[in-house]
């Protein structure tokens, strides 16, 4: 058995399922987002053509990533930005820390950036005496709760409003027992306005970076990226190297798809195009690899780099909806997280590609047409080949294969009992049998189909 820092997905998911009404609530909430996405998609007859175009543009990016990055860097520098390159999470965090130390700040605001989550920037800065205030409402909520986001677009989708009311009461001094979303949002607005006004440095993520213009597009509904970046003396934009797109007009394709796929809105409230620092401001762009160039080399998995982080695959995933984002023990949960994570640490995330029924819904909603469920299947093969499967599972698979590839043995085993179930680990009619725990075993018929056929049809 591998030594993991975390419980595996199946165990964390089982924990989540102890409270069934809550699972129902989580499932229904996300299914509602999926339905909003469907309704929005159906308003555009050209929806499938748009997905195809987006996928092709991203494919072009993967094939020209070197040149596009160089072009982006050159244009960004001409625009007055400082471009930094980070080979991994550690270097990214060091660069950011250095910039913050130069400014002498102890507290600063950050808008949503899954990359900084991936790099675990907040805890790193905290260790170095700098407090990061997450300004996306959902992110601020999970930050106050000392939890990671459970969804890349809806960070606190796992939290009930009463729990949020509690948190705000404790940390922001709102009246106890008030759990009205309108009221709590207003309280957060006031609290975070103070932070925006005080903060001299702002970190933002990046949704798209345009090679042609050297600009970065950041999409939010709340306006927190803009409040932070426009008020700060120093704007630090952190992005994965795969965020590049070739030309400005390609944004037309992506901005049509992103919010419709993510939340079922026609577009986010704000799609901000940052090209030059404002007068007197510093603009720093940190380009981060952290395993992306390695993923680029994997034929079967490079398409995962097309991801625009809309979260549609999570909302549609029947497993995600019923296991919760934290069960994936990774910054990015759900189907997309399960194909990105093994590239970062195969052993640590060996369970994630198995946390799926391979139903394929994720691939169908993906706005850039990543073959997510096929990659899950392929990761399973790689993980087993690399020796990260459990010995018991491997043994049962070898036993199963032994029987299934030999008709004589198969017949004998079938005659002797129900081999399908027996080939699976610990299968007997008791509580240790994972099938039997909440399901009856199939009833044993008197004869197999093969026996019947022999009696009734064989000449």
């Amino acid at each position: 058995m591998n030594e993991h820092q975390h419980k595996e997905h199946s165990l964390l998911a089982a924990d989540f399922n102890r409270n069934e009404p809550r699972v129902n609530w989580h499932d229904e909430t996300l299914w509602w987002v999926r339905q909003k996405r469907d309704r929005m998609a159906w308003t555009l007859p050209e929806w499938e053509a748009l997905r195809e175009a987006a996928s092709c543009i991203k494919h072009n990016v993967l094939g020209n990533l070197h040149d596009y990055l160089v072009e982006f860097e050159r244009n960004a520098q001409q625009n007055g930005a400082v471009v930094h390159w980070a080979a991994n999470a550690e270097e990214h965090n060091r660069i950011v820390l250095q910039l913050l130390r130069e400014q002498g700040v102890k507290r600063m605001v950050k808008s949503k950036s899954m990359l900084t989550e991936e790099c675990h920037l907040n805890p790193f800065l905290a260790e170095n005496g700098i407090e990061v205030i997450d300004t996306d409402l959902g992110e601020r909520i999970v930050q106050l709760a000392k939890e990671p986001p459970s969804h890349i677009v809806l960070p606190c989708i796992h939290k009930k409003k009463e729990e949020i009311g509690e948190l705000f009461h404790e940390h922001l001094g709102t009246p106890a027992g008030n759990a009205d979303p309108q009221f709590l949002t207003a309280a957060a607005r006031q609290h975070l306005r103070k932070e925006f006004i005080q903060s001299r440095v702002a970190i933002t993520g990046v949704n798209f970076a345009v090679a042609e213009t050297g600009e970065m597009v950041v999409c939010t509904n709340e306006g927190n990226a803009d409040m932070g970046a426009h008020l700060a003396d120093v704007h630090i934009a952190c992005m994965g190297i795969e965020k590049i797109i070739p030309k400005r007009h390609h944004l037309g394709v992506f901005l049509r798809l992103l919010a419709r796929s993510a939340t079922g809105q026609p577009i986010t409230t704000y799609s901000s195009h940052f090209r030059k620092p404002k007068a007197g401001q510093q603009l720093h762009i940190v380009l981060v690899d952290n395993g992306r160039s390695r993923q680029l080399d994997r034929d079967d998995f490079r398409n995962s780099l097309k991801c625009i982080r809309c979260g549609a695959c999570m909302n549609t995933c029947p497993v995600y909806r019923r296991s919760g984002g934290h069960s994936y023990h990774n910054a990015i949960a759900g189907p997309i997280g399960a194909i990105l994570a093994p590239n970062l640490d195969m052993k640590e995330y060996a369970d994630l590609p198995f946390a799926s029924t391979l139903c394929g819904s994720c691939s169908n909603v993906c706005p850039v047409k990543i073959d997510i469920h096929q990659q899950l299947y392929k990761w399973r093969q790689v993980i087993v080949q690399e020796g990260h499967s459990k010995p018991a599972k491997a043994a049962s698979m070898h036993a199963m294969n032994m029987v299934l590839s030999r008709p004589g043995l198969y017949k004998a085993a079938g005659g002797a009992g129900r081999w399908v179930m027996r080939a699976m680990p610990a299968v007997v009619n008791n509580k240790l049998n994972p099938w039997y725990k909440q399901r009856e075993m199939p009833e044993a018929p008197k004869q197999s189909f093969a026996d019947w056929y022999k009696k009734n049809r064989s000449k």
Binding site: C56, E91, M227, I241, R256, S293
Partner: protein, 194 residues
């Protein structure tokens, strides 16, 4: 070898064969955008639209529909005679107490209610975000059908900062309940002129 060289070398080594970019012409439209469709989307997003024929209609409409507005910034004096002056001085924080900002929009997009605004018009970038309420004055004739048509118009950036704004600031982070007024403007009014 620096990280830059290292990363670029790895990418060069690993990137797949390049594929042509798709042609996007089929997504373009030749006709103008439909103001009625634009209006409908803006309203769905929680904004209000008033069709006006003259700037002089703005001030009475503001008086009628905003009860809590005293400090008004107007990018052009003709939008709102008597608005605050000298608001441009400072790093943006001076705008913290602004109740309403009235700014011009360059173009609107009928499919999603987005309006393109650049630093050239607004001068202080934070203005449309920090103000409690936002109003955008947009010529009726400047509505385009889709984002593709919008980018065909703004394909070459002229300003250091530009933003599409679609509706008021909002969040649904608490149990997916939609709340207007997260961090940016709590309301959006569009004055469609022409």
């Amino acid at each position: 070898m620096s990280s830059r060289e290292q990363i670029l070398a790895a990418i060069k080594r690993n990137q797949p064969e390049q594929q042509e970019l798709p042609v996007l012409d089929s997504f373009r439209h030749t006709e103008a955008g439909d103001p009625a469709a634009f209006r409908k989307v803006v309203e769905t997003l929680g904004g209000q639209v008033y069709e006006i024929t003259s700037y002089t209609e703005i001030q009475p409409l503001v008086a009628e529909h905003y009860t809590d507005v005293t400090r008004v910034v107007s990018i052009r004096p003709e939008y709102f005679p008597g608005a605050i002056t000298g608001w441009q001085e400072g790093d943006g924080r001076q705008l913290e107490q602004v109740d309403l900002a009235i700014i011009p929009g360059q173009l609107g997009v009928a499919e999603n209610g987005a309006i393109w605004i650049t630093e050239q018009e607004i001068e202080v970038r934070v203005l449309p975000f920090i103000t409690q309420h936002l109003a955008i004055v947009l010529p009726r004739t400047e509505i385009l059908p889709t984002m593709h048509d919008a980018y065909a118009r703004i394909w070459s950036p002229s300003a250091g900062f530009g933003v599409f704004i679609a509706g008021p600031s909002k969040t649904a982070d608490i149990e997916q309940s939609l709340v207007l007024g997260a961090h940016g403007a709590k309301s959006l009014t569009v004055f469609l002129i022409g």
